[in-house]
Amino acid sequence: MLDLRVVRHIVVGLTAILFALAASGCVREQRRFREIPPGATAATAVRQTELQPGQPQPEEQIKGPYDENAYAVSEGQRLYEWYNCVGCHMHGGGNIGPPLMDDKWIYGGSPENIFDTIIEGRPNGMPSYRGRMPNQQVWQIVAYVRSMSGQLSKDVSPGRTDDMNVKTVEQSKGKEQPTTKPAEHPQ
């Protein structure tokens, strides 16, 4: 008959490991259909200058809320087409608008900078989308835009689309190191 002692050891050990894993959940796979508050469209501001009264407080690096969520990045990819970002930025290669898959960020490539770019618009042609989409969708697009230059990890970035393949797929893109400080761009 079975050597029950051995089996018991194995079962107990496995169960413990599995419970520990399950408790940690998996951020990558969460499907968060609505955030709280659901339709919020308020913007978070990023300082426009480094000058501050008293002791300067460095900007804290917030992690994009969806930088590790594959579903959100995939939604961002969908919205990038639906909301016609491709009209000016193409699929990242740029045309009327600057390329998004390279290392140059005129207005900064951190998540809150991209968020502001979308919400507020920028000089020289970037429209302001404030009020046109809820914050959740903006953050999804932010995450996708960051994936276009390889900033997100490979298992979160999207694979190829079911369209004609016109560019390097985000999950194969090497990580670009941002090279331009925001305030120094000639334009």
Binding site: R31, F33, P37, A40, W82, R132
Partner: protein, 343 residues
């Protein structure tokens, strides 16, 4: 115990048959029922179903009868009956049963072929042509017309004339869906990269509900459509009305509602012909108020449901592509007044 089991057996079979009959008779009619046909094809398929049902039921009763008799006989037997004669006779019976089974299958095969021919015979040059595009999780319909300005795009609800064939050319925008209106015909998949074609014809007026029948993601369960079959004059009137652009707002509240529509999130995805809203990602809303349901057949189209859908679609259809929206109470009422004016 042994006797009890044997007695239970025929009793249990009988109870099963009774329960089955009760269940079966408890409602063939109904919306979205394949056994309540309203079109030529659904009629033929329903006839095929009943033929197969009675044949299969008879076969089942006979085979179970033979089994039951074999069990009953063996109760009183003292030794096994495997003499050569009994075996030979049994061989004849088994061979006969196999031959009869093959013959029955052949008959059913012919019945299937004949039904198949009948339901594909609707082709006609006089058909209404509709292009169907499946989306996650709604239906886009375009009435085709040789004159481009006469083409009409609508969503989730189509009207067809009674007694005239309708040709549907179908494809999918994203994943595989399946167009299925059981009262009228069987289903045909909407594939990506292929165009599939099906024909429909309604024989009597009515509103027939259909539903997507190929698993297509989170809200596959809530991707329904309505087919309204009406007399040809009514259909022509409806189609002519659909061709018109959206009605202009007739009061201040509706004007305010239109302004909210055009300056907020809705303009990003929806089209209302006659206004600046021209996006094609979401359903066309030009004649939203003329439809019986919203959210692809999920909710009846009334002010309350529309309000709930506009503010928090994720609560009703979690995972669908329309985000929730933030509106003050007054803004919401204005928007709803405008949407309700889009007849």
């Amino acid at each position: 115990m042994k006797t009890a089991t044997k007695q239970l057996r025929p009793g249990r079979c009988l109870a099963l048959v009774c329960a089955a009959s009760v269940l079966l008779c408890s409602g063939c009619a109904g919306v979205q029922s394949a056994l309540d046909p309203a079109g030529l094809q659904a009629h033929r398929i329903s006839r095929l179903w009943w033929l197969m049902f009675w044949v299969c039921l008879s076969v089942f009763v006979i085979v179970m009868g033979a089994l039951g008799y074999a069990l009953w006989r063996s109760r009183r037997r003292e030794r096994v009956a495997t003499e050569p004669e009994a075996e030979r006779s049994m061989t004849r019976w088994v061979t006969g049963a196999v031959v009869v089974s093959a013959a029955i299958l052949f008959i059913l095969l012919i019945a299937d072929f004949s039904t198949g021919r009948a339901i594909t015979s609707l082709e006609s040059s006089d058909a209404v042509m509709i292009k169907v595009t499946g989306h996650q999780w709604w239906w886009e319909f375009t009435y085709d017309d040789p004159v481009p300005s006469q083409q009409v795009t609508t969503a989730n609800e189509i009207h067809i004339p009674v007694g005239r064939p309708v040709r549907l050319e179908m494809t999918s925008h994203d994943v595989i869906h399946s167009f299925w209106v059981p009262n009228l015909h069987g289903k045909t998949d909407l594939l990506v990269g292929h165009q599939t074609v099906t024909w429909l014809q309604a024989d009597r007026p009515g509103t027939y509900r259909g539903q997507c029948a190929e698993y297509c993601g989170h809200q596959h369960a809530h991707m329904a459509l309505l087919v309204v079959a009406e007399p040809p004059e009514d259909f022509k009137a409806w189609l002519d009305h659909e061709r018109l652009p959206a009605a202009d707002p007739s009061n201040d509240e509706q004007r305010r509602g239109r302004q909210i529509f055009l300056t907020r999130a809705w303009v990003m995805c929806h089209q209302i012909r006659g206004t600046d809203a021209g996006a094609r990602s979401g359903p066309d809303l030009t004649h939203l108020a003329s439809r019986q349901t919203i959210a692809a057949g999920t909710l009846p189209n009334n002010r309350g449901n529309l309000g709930g859908w506009v503010v928090d679609s994720q609560g009703i259809k979690p995972g669908n592509k329309m985000p929730p929206n933030e509106l003050s109470g007054e803004e919401l009422q204005a928007l709803l007044s405008y949407l309700e004016s889009l007849k």
